[in-house]
Amino acid sequence: MHEIGVRETVQFAGLTFNWETLVMTWISMAIVLLIAILATRNLKMVPTGAQNIVEGLIVWLREQTLTSLGPKGEFLCPLIVTLFLFLIVANWLGLVPTMASPTNDLNTTLGLALFIIVMVHTLGVYMKGMHYIKHFFQPFPIFVIINVIEEIAKPITLAFRLFGNILAGEILIIILLMLAKWAILPSVAWLAFSLFIGGVQAFIFTSLSLAYLANAVKDSEE
């Protein structure tokens, strides 16, 4: 039985790793890659079957990215596409019996959120220079306090929202299963709802990342 809150850890080069999270992450990555490769292995001008789905997803995410970031954001499209596909697969992986979502570990969600935020500020400074740093001190220098709190809050909210939703979903699945043999209907209903939550959370995480990136990449004149 799944032990809630207890993580199997491994030590490697003096560092501690959550083994289950890593394995589940690799499985998710493998699934995403497998789907992507299978669907795009034999690209046709007139799309059929799996190509339609993957193509549609990528086109949709690409459009989202380009509308949020403008033409300069083209190079970030693969990042956004990967983020969404990985998150949705990771969120749904926990719904498969004996599997767990890599996103039920704060290390994963915070890792991704920090990755995004570091990227936001790096790109902001790289693409806008002093102008980007200056905007933290506007309209008055004192606002830097609020702005810094906001910037710190961004990755934390991003990470905890996803982590909380997925972990809660998985805990409830386990609890509903433990509760009683007759509780099949709530179990199934919750599973369906978790499916929905997984999709929604993946979308929210991606959309917010895009919004933060837009702040740094998009020209203020546009």
Binding site: L33, A39, T40, M45, F86, D105, L110, L114
Partner: protein
């Protein structure tokens, strides 16, 4: 439950690897294919437009040619009609002239013949007159006999029928 450890770094790296792999295996080929498709559609649409324009131009050209041909045909017909009419008129005129000429020649001929006949007659009348005078002189006749002689002479004239001409 929410212990942060080195997994965080590992997850960042995992994600980075996935981004790179997906970019190579899915994103790039799909975007390339999308571009190709876009170009192909744009090309097809452009080609269709061009074809339609070309067809229209050809049609216009044909119509113009047809109209030109029609005008030319009408011109040819008109010309032919005109020429026929002219030919007809010319031949009529020639014929008329010929007839006039023939008429004129005939009249001249008649005139000449008549003049000739009158001349001949005049000559004969003179000769006869002289003959008659000789007869009168040689016979030495009186007035009555003279009259008889002249009557005879004139009767002879009638008998010989030389006075057929209307003189």
């Amino acid at each position: 439950m929410i212990d942060i450890n080195a997994t965080l770094i590992a997850q960042m790296l995992n994600f980075l690897v996935l981004v790179v792999l997906l970019r190579i295996f899915a994103y790039k080929p799909i975007v390339k294919m999308l571009k190709e498709r876009e170009e192909r559609i744009a090309g097809s649409i452009k080609k269709a437009d061009d074809d339609a324009a070309a067809a229209e131009a050809t049609l216009k050209q044909y119509q113009e040619q047809l109209a030109g041909a029609r005008v030319k045909a009408q011109e040819i017909i008109d010309k032919a009609e005109k020429r026929t009419r002219e030919d007809h008129e010319a031949s009529m005129q020639t014929t008329k002239a010929e007839i006039d000429q023939m008429k004129h020649a005939a009249q001249q001929e008649i005139q000449r013949e008549r003049a000739l006949a009158v001349e001949k007659l005049k000559g004969q009348v003179a000769a006869l007159s002289i003959a008659a005078a000789e007869k009168i002189v040689s016979k030495n006749i009186d007035a009555a006999e003279n009259e008889a002689l002249i009557k005879e002479f004139i009767d002879q004239l009638d008998k010989d029928k030389i006075g057929d001409l209307p003189c």
